[in-house]
Symmetry: C2
Subunit: 346 residues, 2 copies
């Protein structure tokens, strides 16, 4: 929820809205599950017609659609509903940027239940090991891989354009916690001389493999099943990707991981980090700043680190910091660093 | 959450925020439970000092306070946090308008769990009888009575100023579902010739009785324990109050209730209805419009009726509609209607 301007009348309304914000999640999740946005997009635009189409009482449909209208996702004129611009692009199943699958992950029971006892997480400074979702082959990560794939196509393209790698010889890229695999696949699309090694839990790798097959990578896509902290990473990589991953861990664990990655990289190989990184004030941009609370609720020691903190960790691990920059979506940041030694792009 | 302007760049940010809005509820509830706002109001303004005061890790405090800053409730300058205007008035325990108690009700487990299966409520058009909270002496109503009391002082004063009753003889007022009792108590304060009969579940009446004792009403405050649909209401009332009550019920149930109230009122006696009533468009004002979803999730047939709908129900039950007007808080509306026969104010 966006911060609102301070120049307003003093009322309890904003506080009531925040206390009951769980309603907004439930209403949107329900509308996505019922596929209401796609139906409205297809021209079924009154509560009566939507109810008829979905075989549910008109009363339930009307109350839900009116609520979505107060959230701005629908626009109501008389008794007709229309999609707002965001809903048309991201919530209509016919749109290539449809993100309904993300709701399955973001509003999954484990994610939401992690917030039921937020006060205990705050008191401990993190989730218990048992609640932590990272260190296991949890089905939530398959939902994540499916749900985020469409949304990540553009950031993945964006990342691939930033990363300069050798073109004159075969190269190897390691995609740690590959998920849907889109980031490695985008790099493989830019570099026909690249083979991508996707590392993740076995069930998640099935999703990545499917996406790699759709991209016709063939033998240029290989998989490594297991935890990045435990499996043999291999070696001779020209680039290692850590996308949306480091926030799960404490500083000591990240140091351990960097220590495993360094010998796996060629001299001068690139370490590429992308994800939510708040500015040094830790309150902007809002999406990145808020992300730390999600991480604290679901991991023992993680948080959304700033680029400055990650730079410190990289240098402590012997990497040379090259640059950090916002990705074109504006939501996430990208850091590039280099393993000791020479190297360079095309 | 307020609807945002349609004239913005198309991004998935708003949708991500809504899907994860349950975080906002959890963060605010946690901060209220830890009494962070009161501590900041008292001059403990850094995460380190707050953590020290509350004996919790600074990391948990910092992440929570940064999140509250993105919600606008705190203002961060360097590593100092300050309360925004709403938080200072409503979330600092030293403020007379402190509404922290409302969080206990609005974020109670039964209220939040009612939204877990919102899709089933939409499909049915309401909650199951078992999930419905109204028709039982549920502890959630004691939380409600405690939590809302301070917030309702001003609306109760406001209501009492609107209602003109005879001053020249003893009068009787029935306050149905009295809760904290503030509305009847405010009328008794205006009319020293009034005796208030508060009707509610026994445990809730203890809260109302305490507030009546604090207002020194003595024998001018009586109680009727039980359901308004079942107990003997008595008779000879000059006014009957139905505040924040009718939204729980279907139209048929409201007709039954009106049928019980009519003979309990003197000729020309007033029926006073107050609560969230959306405009006829059902999408404004947002707080009132959204309320229907809460009611649908927690009652089998209820919703936030418009003033027009209530007018129709009153007239069908033989009442003469007098007026409806917004209460000064702006959040709720007030309807007055009259039992057949003469009558009038002071």
């Amino acid at each position: 929820m966006p911060a609102r301007s301070q120049s307003h009348q003093i009322t309890p309304e904003r506080i009531f809205d925040l206390l009951q914000a769980y309603r907004n999640s439930a209403a949107l999740k329900t509308a996505i599950d019922l596929d209401i946005f796609s139906h409205i997009g297809a021209g079924i635009v009154t509560a009566a017609d939507l109810a008829d189409e979905l075989k549910i009482p008109v009363r339930g449909m009307r109350i839900l659609c009116d609520f979505l209208t107060t959230d701005g996702l629908l626009i109501k004129t008389g008794d007709h509903y229309a999609l707002n611009a965001d809903a048309a692009v991201f919530l209509d199943r016919k749109s290539p940027a449809y993100m309904g699958g993300a709701a399955r992950f973001l509003c999954s029971t484990p994610m939401m239940r992690a917030f039921d006892n937020l006060i205990d997480c705050v008191r401990r400074g993190g989730a218990t090991e048992e609640v932590g979702l990272i260190s296991q082959d949890h089905p939530v990560w398959v939902d994540f891989a499916h749900g985020m794939a469409a949304l990540q196509a553009l950031p993945a393209q964006n990342l691939s354009e930033f990363i300069d790698l050798p073109c004159d010889r075969p190269i190897k890229i390691l995609d740690i916690a590959a998920g849907h695999g889109r980031f490695g696949i985008a790099l493989a699309a830019r570099y026909p001389n690249a083979t991508v090694f996707a590392l993740d839990w076995p069930a998640v790798l099935n999703v990545a493999r499917k996406n790699a097959d759709d991209a016709a990578l063939g033998s240029r896509f290989e998989t490594i099943a297991g935890s990045a902290f435990e499996v043999d990473l291999g070696d001779g990589y020209d680039a290692v990707l850590l996308v949306n991953f480091l926030h799960h861990f404490g500083i000591d664990e990240i140091a351990t991981l960097f220590g495993r990655i360094r010998p796996a990289l060629n001299a001068g190989g690139l370490l590429v980090i992308a994800g939510f990184m708040p500015n040094e004030d830790r309150i902007s941009p809002p999406q990145a700043a808020r992300f730390s609370l999600s991480v604290m609720a679901s991991t023992p020691k993680g948080e959304a680190y700033t680029a400055g903190e990650l730079k410190g960790m990289l240098e402590a691990a012997g990497f040379s910091y090259i640059a950090d920059k916002p990705m074109s979506s504006g939501l996430q940041r990208l850091i590039t660093a280099q393993s000791p030694g020479g190297g360079g792009g095309c």
